[in-house]
């Protein structure tokens, strides 16, 4: 019994540093914020109880409604795409291919790079004279070449496969050896046509405004379902940086899936796509739950990218709930609206909790 007690004491002693920090900076801070959300506290005058006034005012604030819409759209789109992308990438990296370690390291790079640095780099790429518009311009200018190349490629492949089949060989439509020949011949033919001046690059210029715009898409949707273009820019960047982290989790889960499942499936003639959806997806379900939960929490509380994009874009197009809280906390030429900001923060916390609870009903946390 004595040793048992000692063990308990020892356990709490080891936990103490963490528990104290948690109590001080999390529990105490949360309780204070909850209290402030019912007051008109401004950091400089004693808080005065205002009841639910702050919460009612939230919904009268236009920026809050924009922030709510942006946060929800952002969370829905980013969580879906990053989960799917991470799973696909993990499945690919789970194959036995040459240079596997290189790819694992390379794919993980975006996640270990500082998000501030990445945001700044993306900010440059989204400029009107930036990389994205440059690439789009190149594609648009060489559209005739690309089109002819694609047509030739398909035509050559079909012809070759048909020839093989008439000879009685079982050639698949995407046979790699035939594809390589089609690719080279199509590329050479396109180059020749361009060289002879039969195919000319078009004089196209893509001038898409990614950031300095209040445009929302798709225009046909009601306001509440549209995504502002600058927010989409942040989405792309966010998906790019978060996929690798989640990929790592899926990769760990995939190590536990017996290879024999896949072997059995191939023997039964299942295509890679069928294997992916019937074996990979169900076996990593607990991790999918974790990834979706972490993804939702992370995306609903997204702040840093907005703070950096902030000055370059119309604020309504990118404001999120977390940024709204910060903005009301330090409104510039006025006293801080601590009470109001706390109410918004509480709303965000409850919303996050609710959404996570709802998604639990759709993705089970244990493997079947």
């Amino acid at each position: 019994m004595r040793s048992k007690q000692q063990e308990v004491v020892a356990a709490y002693l080891f936990l103490a540093p963490f528990l104290i920090t948690l109590a001080l900076f999390f529990l105490y801070a949360t309780v204070r914020a909850v209290f402030f959300s019912f007051t008109d506290y401004d950091l400089f005058n004693a808080p005065r109880w205002v009841g639910l006034q702050n919460y009612a005012n939230l919904f009268r604030e236009e920026n809050f409604l924009f922030a709510l819409r942006n946060s929800l759209v952002f969370a829905a789109v980013v969580t879906t795409l990053q989960t799917f992308g991470a799973l696909v990438m993990a499945a690919v990296l789970n194959q036995r291919i040459r240079g596997l370690n290189f790819f694992r390291a390379a794919y993980y790079m975006p996640s270990v790079t500082s998000s501030v640095v990445i945001t700044l780099i993306f900010l440059w790429m989204y400029q009107r004279e930036g990389l994205f518009n440059y690439l789009a311009t190149q594609v648009a200018s060489y559209a005739p070449q690309l089109g002819v190349f694609a047509l030739l490629l398909i035509a050559l492949q079909i012809i070759q496969v048909l020839i093989e089949r008439t000879r009685g060989y079982p050639a698949r439509w995407l046979d790699p050896a035939l594809f390589a020949i089609s690719f080279l011949v199509a590329a050479a033919a396109t180059w020749l046509l361009t060289f002879l001046g039969i195919l000319l690059p078009r004089d196209a210029e893509v001038d898409f405004t990614w950031l300095q715009t209040s445009q929302e898409v798709p225009g046909a949707f009601p306001m509440a379902l549209r995504a502002p273009v600058p927010l989409i820019a942040i989405m792309i960047q966010n998906i790019f940086t978060t996929i690798p982290t989640f990929m790592l989790m899926f990769l760990a889960a995939l190590q536990d899936v017996p290879k024999s499942y896949y072997e059995a499936a191939s023997l039964d003639g299942a295509t890679p796509a069928q294997q992916f959806f019937s074996i990979t997806v169900p076996s990593v379900q607990p991790v999918t739950f974790l990834v979706v939960t972490l993804g939702l929490i992370g995306t609903l509380q997204m702040f840093d990218q907005v703070a950096i994009f902030g000055n370059a874009v119309p604020i309504r197009s990118v404001i999120t709930l977390a940024y709204f809280v910060y903005q009301r906390m330090f409104p510039g030429a006025q006293l801080p609206e601590v009470g109001f900001a706390s109410a918004a923060a509480m709303f965000l916390a409850v919303l996050t909790l609710l959404i996570v609870l709802i998604q639990r009903r759709f993705i089970r946390s244990e493997a079947s």
Binding site: E62, E129, T209, S214, G332, A333, L335, P336
Partner: protein
């Protein structure tokens, strides 16, 4: 025996006196290049005199979001005894009640009135402007010579200025006439020249006023016509970049561009002219951008803090700052400073910028308790027009409704 007693007595006095006088005054301001400047100011100009009075000064720069950090510090009682009060957020700082009213403590007489006004509320002065800046036209002389166009001058109006920009833009497809950001902090000066005020008497804003729309069209029109570019169009961070990289012949900036050009384009032959005059009023407009020193009302060493503030804004301090080409002094008397007579482009630029503060319709860069939120709808409208996403009328109607909401919000 007597002498020893006297000596003993004297040393006792000194010993007793030293602790009451040896005080450390903490001052808080921006990070970036400011720590080096303030440190030099302390070491080379005012530090010795303060030391003689038993005051040691310690500069504590705030490298991140200055307003957020200092607001927290003021609330928590950890702010410096003396601190920066940026003009555009001064109403917020004054509202905290933590800035000491200085009327009875500091002689405000020698400072430029329009600058003091930014830090004045209900007749009380809460900050002493440490220096200031206004806007001027910076141009690349070689490009104008090559295009055989007359330099921008003090006689220019919006119309003649546009003509010169157009003429110089025809020189080379790769070089724009001017580099203009979608920023009310530039364009607003031209609206002021037309006699427009940022707030009507009842606190509302009127963007459909012709005084505003003609200035808006003048500024954005140069970009939509293709004779000027936005910095982001040419991959530049700001107009100073455009000028340094010879991507544009003209930039409308303040004295802060001087240090940048010195470092990034030392061989650029640049000239400076006052902003063009309004076609209708014949007046110039301008912004004054300033930062003040304020004293923490909770400071335990208030007296010493005031002494430090006085030293920081003294003539010697301002003379030093001016001669280093860092900023323009906020004291009226320094307008006769021999430095302004020098023929160097930098001295001439500083003179033009100094004179800009008292030429025509000049307002502090401040928007009441609306703060810099005031700028957002206007900047968005300018962007929309300059990138061809909207026309002036549509963009300004949207901006008007956004601004109305912001002002209503701030009034609560």
């Amino acid at each position: 025996m007597k002498r020893t007693t006297a000596l003993l007595l004297a040393s006792t006095f000194t010993l007793a006196a030293t602790p009451t006088f040896a005080q450390t005054i903490r001052i808080q301001g921006y990070g970036g290049q400011d720590p080096a400047i303030v440190q030099r100011l302390l070491d080379e100009v005012i530090g010795a005199d303060l030391e003689a009075e038993g005051i040691t000064v310690q500069y504590e720069p705030i490298e991140t979001d200055y307003n957020a950090v200092i607001t927290n510090n003021l609330s928590a009682g950890t702010a410096g005894d003396v601190f920066y009060m940026p003009g555009e957020v001064a109403p917020g700082f004054i509202a905290t009640g933590k800035a000491l009213p200085l009327n009875d403590l500091v002689d405000t007489e020698p400072f430029i009135d329009s600058l003091l006004e930014v830090y004045t509320q209900d007749g009380q002065v809460y900050g002493i402007p440490k220096d200031f800046n206004t806007l001027a036209v910076f141009y690349n002389q070689d490009l104008f010579d090559e295009a055989e166009v007359e330099y921008p001058s003090a006689d220019d109006t919006f119309t003649t200025f546009t003509e010169k920009i157009r003429a110089v833009s025809e020189l080379d497809d790769e070089i724009a006439g001017a580099c203009l950001p979608a920023d009310f902090a530039r364009m607003g000066a031209f609206a002021y020249a037309n006699g427009w005020q940022p707030f009507n008497e009842d606190g509302s804003v009127n963007l459909s006023d012709e005084a505003f729309t003609t200035a808006f069209d003048f500024y954005t029109g140069m970009v939509t016509e293709g004779i000027a570019v936005q910095p982001s169009d040419v991959g530049a961070g700001w107009p100073g970049d455009c000028l340094a990289q010879e991507q544009a012949a003209v930039a409308i900036e303040g004295a802060w561009i001087l240090g940048f050009l010195r470092d990034n384009a030392p061989n650029l032959a640049f000239g400076v002219a006052p902003l063009p005059k309004s076609d209708t009023t014949g007046e110039r407009g301008n912004f004054t951008y300033s930062v003040a020193w304020a004293v923490n009302a909770d400071s335990p060493n208030q007296e010493a803090a005031v002494t430090v503030l006085e030293a920081l804004t003294s003539e010697e301090a301002q003379q030093f700052i001016l001669e280093q080409g860092l900023a323009i002094p906020s004291r009226e008397a320094l307008s006769n400073n021999p430095y302004f007579e020098e023929e160097t482009p930098e001295a001439q630029a500083n003179l033009t910028i100094f004179e800009g503060a008292s030429d025509g319709n000049v307002l502090g860069f401040q928007f009441g308790n609306v703060g810099t939120d005031y700028l957002t709808p206007l900047n968005n409208a300018m962007t929309a027009v300059m990138t061809g996403q909207a026309d002036t009328q549509g963009a300004l109607e949207g901006a008007q409704s956004e601004l109305d909401a912001i002002i209503e919000r701030a009034a609560q």
